[in-house]
Symmetry: none
Subunit: 205 residues, 4 copies
DNA sequence: TATGAATGAGTCTTCATTCAT
DNA sequence: CATGAATGAAGACTCATTCAT
């Protein structure tokens, strides 16, 4: 590349960056495709999906997967962290509204099923690896976000008092599992119903 | 049982037998050891534990594991079915008491953590294979048992009306996952608390 | 056994003995059943048949097979030697008739298909182990028998002169293989035809 | 070929390609090495040779063998099909010469021993798996080729009339077995002699 | 002695990771 | 940088052989 095109990079970080800053456009596109494909496949078939399969579905070679994610665990992590970042961002936005029931809105969104959340369901519910060990920062951010909303809800009297943010997180993970247990084919409505029942347990008696 | 009815079960083992009737004494002992070891290891480390590891820990050769459980899937199943059988038996006993809240007693027992239930947690929560496909009879028995108790609880007005037996099963699976998510080290009390919150969602508003 | 029944063993060796002299009646019967079953299964499915399968089909436990034939190779050998012994006996009988074409009669009988010879076909044709290494005596006996008949046929001018007994043996092995290649379902007639063509090659031009 | 026809095959490899077209140079080289090693070892020690041994001798890892031949059976097949392809090609060439005795030339070549044919000997003679089931096309091609030459030989009166192409194939298989039976160490001359005697059976009486 | 359960070395196969093209 | 072939350490499973009942 000639020195005539130096003005390209400074404008970059519009979208929340992963670890893909400073990559060539094609490299970034590949990283993104691998990440999305991995989310889809992990969610659908568990963490046992072969990397070669992910590479094939993403339309790249296995070597490319390893260039971006040096080990399989790194790919798990990237998938989970990516989802969590989005949830934290959502929580941030909800916190801005001042709604005392924002906690439930966030939790509902988290459990609202659909392909989008499948990866989180899988990653958290499967518990085959523990996010809190692997990506303490991201997990802490999310828990912290939840803690803020929980605090507010508590002050407004819309949530029971004997529950901690950690427990809320565990219960959300449980809701994921329940939905997943109800079956892939359960449908939005059924899933929402189940999640609703579980979240109802959080309301004051 | 009073000592007045000694002619009923003298030849019968006390615990409900698995598929191990008619085996030689040593074979039954080994089968049992493998099954227990598998429960423990699956619960602790997921379904990915090598069979050779299970064999080693059970103090037998890998061939012995295969004699009793021809494939790894057969071992998963045997573990899960064994646990479910016990739950069904518990449900049977509770049904006999006439307590209208027996449903919650059973669910609490199901979720009551401890090594004993760890395998069910793992087997159901992981959902890496679906019991309802693999052992329809055992799963149906359990659901049926739950349905009976749910019906009674409904008539007594101690459970919300908009929930089905299948949904209760899903919610229990969710509670397993939540407990598991809370961590191996969470302790009985904490686990019971989380399960309690989730089950509270089932009570009438 | 009391000393009052010492007259039993001397009368034994009426049928050509295997290695089963001095066995109890039931033990001998088991040995025989294993041998026949092995012949049948080796012929039908090759030397790879599991010993457990042979045991099961013979209606005995695997331990019993090993009592009589300490290794699998010992069983191969016993099967092959048994067949060869019978062929040598047949050759002996034919040699007594004085028929100059007795060689062809023997060879035809050897190739005459049917279950009876299947084991030899397998054992010789497969050549997965070499009889001449493993049971030099039996093989030498048979070759020697063939040599005698070959010599006589030669003197009568009914066989080509440029062929040795070893080559005749090889050609017979070839005929076995040809019949086997023609298919299990070929039928007596077809098999005889093929064997006939091959043996015709031995006649003087 | 004279130098006057250079425009026919410039871009074509000389040996008929297997399924290795379009492979990278190193991949093709490895595939070839595995194939040749497998031919050699199958011929020398039967189909029971461990894949790991083949890999080791070929100087590749076991995974590489599986990349090219996903199962062991696929490797058997590839070996056998490769040999048959060459024989069909030879038959094709011989058919072009117009020689009425071309059948015998082809059969002699087929039976001509040496390392080259060892694999076919093994594959056909062992009959542990049936080519006609596994690779009907290749086997049919060869039989068809033989049928053509047989027909021509019959019209020229150099072969007996009561023999079919299938029987010729069986007899060739028998000749393989006979040669093999005569021993690895028999030498070209001895092998040719035995094969000659067997093929003589095909000539008119 | 017969049985059949147990053993454990050995087999095929998979797949995360490395490296030549 | 991307590709995809190669690697090789496991993993599930088989089966000849041994040994307790």
């Amino acid at each position: 590349m000639s020195s005539r095109t130096p003005d390209r990079t400074p404008a970059e970080p519009v979208t929340p960056p992963g670890d893909d800053r400073g990559l060539r456009a094609d490299a970034r596109r590949n990283r993104e495709r691998v990440l999305r494909t991995a989310q889809r496949l992990f969610a659908a078939h568990g963490l046992g999906v072969p990397l070669d399969e992910i590479a094939r579905r993403a339309g790249v070679g296995p070597g490319t997967v390893h260039r971006h994610f040096p080990t399989k665990e790194a790919l798990y992590l990237a998938v989970a962290i990516d989802r969590i970042r989005r949830l934290v961002a959502e929580g941030e936005a909800l916190a801005g509204t001042g709604d005392p029931a924002a906690l439930f809105t966030l939790l509902s969104r988290m459990t609202a099923s659909g392909a989008e959340n499948a990866a989180v369901k899988s990653a958290l519910a499967a518990a085959e690896f523990d996010l809190r060990d692997a990506a303490p920062d991201a997990a802490a951010d999310l828990t912290h976000q939840v803690a803020r909303l929980l605090d507010r809800a508590r002050r407004a009297g819309v949530v029971r008092h004997d529950v901690t943010a950690d427990e809320v997180m565990a219960i959300v993970a449980g809701a994921f599992a329940a939905i997943r247990h109800a079956g892939e084919d359960a449908g939005q409505e059924r899933s929402a119903h189940i999640a609703g029942i579980i979240l109802d347990g959080l309301r004051p008696r």
